[in-house]
């Protein structure tokens, strides 16, 4: 995975709470078997409305999303993260993320940083005062910088390490081969096996 440290980009304000993954990408877009090309599905229903934030000129090229609480609830679809990334987003900030979305983001190199509700409101206000303003996202120092303003964000230490070092999860786990094999050797014999198939 690509190493991530800091970047600068346009921040878009999505002033909604409880944005579920069906809104981030409706199910009809989940039929593809590739891992890319999901940008057209991002907020597909909302983008049909002219006044939706990503249809406003300065935000069409946004790479940072500042959103309300409970972002990414509902379906486990990792396509939500792929769609955000394919559109060009590199970081999403909210006061609260759904667990599965948070995990999926970490696997795909999308920064999902937790900021306070007060800081969410502050960033929305600053962006409204200066639409299209560039913000700097600094992962190592966990800071969002907008002009003279600095907002710090939370991210799980281990996820941060994996993102900054570009580590591959499966590769890390496979270093524990001996421990996995030892666990398997003492698994209970009553535990089910799918093969050979029964009840067919």
């Amino acid at each position: 995975m690509e190493k991530i440290s800091n970047f600068t980009g346009i921040a878009a304000p999505l002033k909604l709470s409880n944005v579920d993954t069906d809104q981030i990408i409706p199910a009809v877009f989940l039929k593809r078997i590739t891992k890319t090309g999901f940008e057209d599905g991002l907020f597909a229903n909302w983008r049909q409305k002219e006044d939706f934030v990503l249809n406003q000129e300065p935000y069409q090229n946004a790479s940072v999303l500042i959103t309300g609480s409970d972002f990414g609830t509902g379906s486990s679809r990792e396509h939500a993260v792929w769609a955000l990334k394919d559109y060009g987003f590199k970081a999403v900030f909210s006061s609260k993320f759904a667990d599965i979305f948070l995990g999926n983001s970490g696997k795909q190199g999308l920064i999902a940083g937790v900021i306070s509700e007060a800081d969410t409101e502050k960033l929305w206000r600053l962006i409204d005062e200066n639409p299209g303003v560039q913000v700097e996202v600094d992962l190592p120092s966990q800071e969002i910088r907008l002009g003279a303003e600095v907002v710090s964000f939370d991210i799980d230490e281990y996820t941060k390490l994996r993102l900054t070092e570009g580590l591959d999860d499966i590769g890390i786990t496979l270093q524990n081969e001996a421990a996995i094999a030892a666990y398997e050797a003492k698994r209970e014999s009553w535990k089910p096996k799918t093969l050979p198939a029964k009840g067919v």
Binding site: R32, D99, G103, D156, D169, T173
Partner: protein, 471 residues
């Protein structure tokens, strides 16, 4: 081993620990059962192929087709080209890697969360994962079961383990006796309305109390299924005699000495006296009404006896804004009695409520009654086996005589991914799990209900409780 009293969730975690994480690293847990379907797996298989990796434990992996599959004319090729390609990709991938699959037309095909339990693969004391958030369903057996993303699907295929940060624990205590016409679905809708869609975030929920103990396995699955709608990745119910009776004799249930050993091991799968939950919630079953949603997230629910709430009644500004947005989308006015809301479609199906008991409950109410003329009713069994069993019991005839559409198994109208969708602006009473904007089709409006409320609604044409039929 220490003698500290543990919760059920903590015991399951302890029993599956392969490597304890250090310095903030997650724990590595072993996965006993991996369920796969066509939507969230193709990119995982691609990842394996790219890295030249094999599946570590094909014998702990099983696939079925459910999200994209049609529920009518299933002998024909899938009409939608992209759906057909995705289902074919699952067939090709499982053939290439030697994974067991139950395809459309097979008697074991169905919604992945119905198939696992009915084969006896889901059992107490397991870790169960699937690239689907409603994997929490399997927690009804006292298993630690959770939905995962596609990267994690690939991780489990390659390693049969998952790195996970420990969860907090929350007890949902439901004491008392449900009144007639009130069911497991009403309990979980009331729980979500109480703790909100984010209330369970970071927690494993354990449902406890006399009202939970009194539920069948089907009812327990309905409750655990919607744990994710409260933000929790997993929900649990301690196994008991009801669980063991359900399992005994199923195709993959342990036999002989293994069964005896399993029973002995499962007897420890309870929260110890004195164990402390990080949070506790209490629900009174005695006074619970049938519950329905009015908005566009599952936490926006009220008693069926209540009215559509006024957004101004919410003190939290973001909740107030969300309520107003929901009413606009749902085309509802504050103060309208829930029972005055007229619907177009009644959907009885989904991994929440499409097991045999759900079909029986609805059939009992509609038998000999007349469907409201404005209503289209679809009944979609959770699996091909459930359909066969319902037909053996004559339930299909009751539904067809009533004027309902009797379908083949699949996710169907729960999500707008297959041919079963609502038209823009159409309103449904649905036994599924999500009332999100556009979930059942673009512009569609969803009220989440129990199978009994669905049946009564199909008769009266407006959201109704079974008790309304007696007046």
């Amino acid at each position: 081993m220490s003698n500290k009293p543990l919760t059920l969730a903590e015991k399951l975690w302890r029993d599956h620990l392969v490597v304890k994480g250090e310095n903030g690293a997650p724990d590595l847990l072993y996965i006993d059962l991996h369920l796969i379907h066509e939507v969230t797996s193709p990119q995982a298989f691609d990842g394996l192929r790219l890295a030249g990796r094999d599946i570590r434990r094909k014998d702990l992996t099983i696939a079925t087709e459910d999200h994209n599959t049609p529920t009518a004319d299933i002998h024909l090729p899938i009409a939608d080209a992209t759906s057909r390609v995705q289902v074919q990709a699952l067939r090709d991938n499982t053939a290439e890697y030697g994974v067991r699959i139950h395809s459309l037309g097979d008697k074991n095909q169905g919604i992945v969360h119905v198939v696992g339990p009915q084969l006896g693969l889901t059992m107490p004391g397991l870790t169960v994962v699937c690239g689907d958030s409603h994997t929490s369903t399997h927690g009804a057996f006292g298993a630690l079961a959770m939905g995962i993303g596609t990267s994690e699907v690939e991780h489990v295929l390659a390693t049969q383990t998952l790195p996970l940060q420990p969860f907090k624990t929350m007890a949902i205590n439901v004491e008392g006796t449900l009144r007639p016409g009130v069911s497991a679905k009403d309990i979980i809708l009331a729980v979500i309305a109480k703790i909100s869609t984010g209330g369970g975030q970071g927690y494993v929920l354990e449902y406890r109390g006399s009202a939970i103990r009194a539920l069948s396995m089907e009812g327990r699955m309905t409750i655990c299924n919607m744990s994710i709608e409260a933000g929790a990745r997993a929900g649990l119910i301690a196994p008991d005699q009801t669980t063991f009776d359900y399992l005994k004799g199923r195709p993959h249930a342990p036999e002989g000495a293994d069964w005896d050993q399993a029973l002995a091991d499962w007897s420890d799968l309870v929260t110890d006296d004195g164990a402390v939950f990080d949070k506790e919630v209490f629900i009174d079953a005695d006074t619970l009404d049938p519950f329905v949603t009015w908005g566009t997230n599952p936490g926006q629910g009220v008693s069926l006896m209540d009215s559509v709430p006024d957004p101004e009644s919410f003190s939290d500004p973001s909740q107030r804004a969300a309520a107003q947005k929901a009413l606009d989308y749902m085309d509802l006015k504050a103060g309208t009695k829930m029972k005055d809301i007229q619907v177009d479609t009644v959907f009885l199906g989904s991994c929440t409520n499409a097991r045999i008991e759900d079909l029986r409950a609805a059939a009992e109410i509609i038998e000999g009654k007349t469907k409201a003329p404005n209503i289209r009713m679809m009944v979609v069994p959770g699996s091909a086996k459930v359909r066969l069993q319902a037909e053996a019991e004559g339930l299909d005839k009751i539904f067809k005589d009533f004027g309902a559409d009797w379908r083949f198994a699949g996710c169907s109208m729960c999500l707008g991914m297959n041919p079963d969708q609502l038209a823009p602006g159409e309103r449904a009473a649905s036994t599924s799990n999500r009332n999100f904007e556009g979930r059942q089709g673009k512009g569609a409006r969803t009220h989440l209900v129990s199978p009994m409320v669905a049946a009564a609604t199909a008769i009266r044409g407006t959201l109704s409780a079974p008790a309304d039929l007696e007046q």
